[in-house]
């Protein structure tokens, strides 16, 4: 995880080292460390007698404190290349501030831009001046350089104070390569980094602004954008604001950057301090007001103090952040990056203090925005991961809601089914009670008050029928074992009452259940069959065999009575229920067969398929 994060950093370092690795000056190049200097308000280099020798690099803060805004420099050099060589010669100036004009042997050969205020800012732009061969003499060449700049007191950084570095003269080809490397390091890379920071910062600012809970993103975005703007000083040459305006803005921007940086470190650490929320903007205002009050002349002195204050604030916030996050695994990453930023800041301070501008200070200037980019990537990664987690959580929540909804619906359905069942059950009971109370009572009255035995019997049978129907109505399935018990008890006791010897054979302990309808219909058939035996057969013995197969159960009722004659058969079918027995068996998808012959008794075979009988219909 950590390795890929460092890979871009390594790539950047390699690039910077390549850019910085200026080879040693070749033998043909001439390093010039001294010049004649004269005040620069004149239109051309004055009489050499009025000039003074200076060593290069010449920093005005030492050699011309509080003096004019311009100076002349004159150097003399011999023709370097042999006459037969037609190599183009060039002058390379690593650092000149703010702007320059170059004259070769009195001929104007190079201008860096505006020489009057507002000056073109070339402080960070290495200058390469081709020296036309036609203008070069064999001996005693003179180069006059007019430099225009600002005194240190008027600029916020020592690097933008007037001055001229050492000069190199040599083959254009070789110096051009050196110039290109230096330009890349000081101009192109900052440009690219600025653009990146600007884009990323803007993106992060919007992200943090929309997402108030991630306000650290907004502050980081502000920090990045602010830094990108400040970095523009490195490559932007003409700013239409005037010198003091630009310097004021740059200093003031540092206040904003500090505000954003400190708030970012606090918020990223998960802390929000009301006091800091108020103090930082106040400090910004204070900084701006103090700069205005001090005026452009004392800008450098005041800015130096402010730099120190602001830098200490950021260092303190960084230390707090690292301390606060010490338990997090990622503290090493942030800690390392913050240390690098602090180191870069220290180098910059050192450069400001001494006025020297070694290569490392240029690199340090670049390290800070590069680290910003890395931190930005890290934040985006964290944000993305949090987003991913949030979405996962949301998906899980949705899933749970869906499940809960399904559960509720299921429960509701069950509840309503239960309700329907309850209502149905209640209604059945009511109908059953009504039948008993009303129809039952009337039938009962007929049973016991009729003079005709036949009507009594019919009414009794009707009453039994009614009761069975009511039982069918209540519709509860019956265990086959229980049903067999009921049937056995009824058949055997009725036969016994009629003085017929009954003999029952049947299975016990069956796991199957029977629908109420099948139970009721089978009861009716058995009852009818028993009645027939009692009334018509004249038998003395009757055997009942109940058996169960895979698909059906079967009753065989065999008596030793007279059997059914042909005439009686017809009669029975009409009046004694054989037809209704057969019908009922048919309704259950079974069959009821009657085998009989005069003198042989009667065999009734009742078959009811189990799968039909088992289904509650």
């Amino acid at each position: 995880m950590r390795q890929p994060r460092f890979r871009p950093l390594l790539a950047w370092l390699c690039l910077l080292l390549w850019l910085a690795a200026a080879g040693p000056a070749a033998a043909q190049t001439l390093l010039i460390r001294g010049a004649l200097s004269a005040p620069g308000h004149l239109s051309s280099f004055p009489d050499p007698s009025s000039a003074v020798p200076v060593t290069l690099p010449d920093e005005w803060v030492h050699t011309r404190p509080g003096s004019d805004a311009a100076a002349w420099y004159r150097i003399e050099f011999p023709r370097l290349a042999p006459p037969e060589s037609d190599d183009l010669m060039a002058l390379y100036i690593e650092h000149v501030c703010s702007n320059l004009e170059v004259y070769l042997n009195g001929n104007f050969v190079h201008s860096g831009g505006r020489m009057s205020r507002p000056l073109t800012n070339n402080c960070n732009q290495p200058q390469l001046v081709p020296l036309p061969s036609a203008l070069l003499r064999v001996e005693g060449n003179t180069i006059d350089i007019r430099v225009a700049g600002h005194p240190l007191s008027e600029v916020g950084s020592r690097q933008r104070a007037g001055g001229l570095s050492a000069l190199q003269i040599g083959p254009q080809q070789e110096l051009a390569a050196r110039h290109a490397r230096r330009t890349a390091l000081q101009v192109w890379v900052p440009q690219a980094v600025s653009a990146t920071l600007l884009l990323m910062g803007g993106f992060m600012f919007v992200l943090g602004f929309i997402n108030r809970r991630e306000s650290h993103l907004a502050y980081f975005g502000a920090l990045s954008v602010g830094w990108a703007i400040v970095d523009a000083r490195l490559w932007l040459r003409n700013i239409p604001l005037g010198h003091s305006g630009v310097e004021f803005l740059l200093c003031a921007m540092l206040g904003f950057i500090t505000w954003a940086a400190v708030q970012f470190l606090l918020r990223y650490g998960g802390v929000r301090l009301r006091k800091v929320d108020v103090l930082l903007p106040v400090q910004c205002a204070l900084l701006a007001v103090s700069l205005v009050l001090a005026g452009p002349q004392r800008l450098h002195a005041l800015a130096s103090v402010w730099y120190l204050v602001l830098a200490l604030e950021v260092v303190a916030a960084s230390a707090w952040h690292v301390h606060h996050q010490r338990k997090s695994r990622a503290v090493w990453l942030m800690g390392g990056l913050l240390s690098a930023v602090t180191l870069a800041g220290a180098i910059e301070f050192f450069a400001q203090w001494t006025g020297a501008r070694p290569l490392v200070s240029h690199i340090a200037l670049l390290v800070v925005p590069v680290i910003f980019v890395l931190v930005g990537l890290r934040l985006v990664q964290q944000h993305g991961r949090a987003l991913h987690h949030a979405e996962q959580g949301k998906a899980q929540l949705e899933q749970r809601v869906r499940e809960a909804t399904a559960e509720i619906e299921r429960n509701f359905r069950q509840l309503s089914e239960l309700k329907v069942e309850q209502v149905t059950e209640r209604e059945r009971k009511r109908i059953a009670a009504d039948l008993h109370d009303d129809l039952g009572a009337k039938l009962l009255t007929i049973v016991h008050t009729s003079d005709s035995e036949r009507i009594s019997t019919l009414a009794r049978e009707a009453l039994e029928e009614m009761r069975l129907s009511v039982r069918g109505l209540t519709g509860r399935p019956v265990r086959l074992t229980d049903a067999l018990g009921d049937w056995r008890a009824e058949v055997v006791s009725r036969l016994a009452q009629a003085g017929i010897e009954g003999d029952w054979e049947g299975p016990e302990d069956l796991p199957q259940t029977l629908s109420a309808r099948a139970y009721v219909q089978t009861t009716r058939i058995l009852r009818e069959a028993t009645s027939n035996i009692i009334k018509h057969s004249g038998a003395t013995h009757c055997s009942v065999v109940a058996s169960i197969n895979d698909n059906d159960f079967q009753f065989v009722l065999q008596d030793n009575g007279e059997g059914i004659t042909v005439e009686l058969d017809g009669k029975m079918d009409r009046g004694h229920g054989l037809a209704s027995m057969k019908n009922r068996a048919k309704q259950l998808q079974g069959q009821c067969l009657v085998e009989s012959g005069p003198g042989y008794g009667t065999v009734i075979r009742l078959t009811v398929p189990l799968d039909r009988a088992l289904q509650p219909s």
């Binding site: 009962l444 016991h448 009761r467 009921d486 056995r488």
Partner: protein, 216 residues
């Protein structure tokens, strides 16, 4: 000389029953009632030997009379006379203390015989009632919080055996033959079963009442 309570709302049936009872118990004193409330009042006033009680009456259930009689006259025999042959109607009456039941629509001879048997201590027991009794006691056999209000009423092995056989559809005489017992012994078992059902149900009801009381 017997004193008999007759609870029946249909006048024709009541008259018919009265005639039948007088045939079985000649010279008996019969108190008739068509309403549960009247019957309960009679229970407090007259000493009965036998009560023939219908279940579905216009102002309530005959079960209430069974309960009342069991409370005030423990020696009186309650017999349910009904057209309901299903255990759902009969079982509560048996739990309340009824000693047997008679189905009204049966032929006169059969009812006469059953009435005689009951008065001689031979109550009927159908397979479905036997199953309900078995279920009642097996549910009680599960571990339950015991209470002093809950006497440990349980069936003997013989009683259980008789119940099981009745449930399978064997008639009481058949069971007597199978177990090598006399008709009277079997009848005694059945009587014991009815008695235990009543005692156990009453204890249960008392416990339930206490539980509800505690919650109040």
């Amino acid at each position: 000389m017997k004193t008999i309570l007759l609870l029946e709302d249909l006048p024709e049936i009541r008259a018919w029953m009265r005639k039948l009872v007088l045939q079985v118990f000649p010279g008996a004193t019969i108190s008739e009632s068509a309403r549960v409330q009247d019957a309960i009042e009679l229970c407090g006033a007259v000493k009965f030997d036998l009560a023939l009680l219908d279940l579905g009456l216009p102002d309530g259930s005959g079960v209430d009379v069974v309960t009342k009689l069991r409370d005030v006259q423990p020696d009186a025999q309650s017999v349910v006379v009904t057209i309901h042959d299903d255990d759902e109607h009969l079982f509560p009456a048996l739990q309340a203390g009824a000693f047997g039941y008679i189905l009204k629509e049966q032929p006169r001879e059969l009812i006469t015989e059953q009435l005689q048997r009951i008065s001689q201590g031979e109550p009927p027991l159908s397979p479905s009632i036997a199953r309900r009794v078995m279920a009642h006691f097996s549910a009680k056999a599960k571990p339950q919080p015991q209470s002093h209000l809950m006497p440990n009423v349980s069936l003997t092995d013989r009683e259980s055996e008789v119940l099981l056989r009745v449930a399978k559809g064997y008639t009481l005489p058949e069971i007597g033959v199978q177990l090598g017992l006399s008709r009277h012994t079997i009848a005694d078992y059945v009587k014991q079963i009815y008695r235990k059902l009543n005692v156990s149900s009453r204890a249960e009801a008392a416990l339930e009442a206490q539980r509800l009381g505690l919650f109040r």
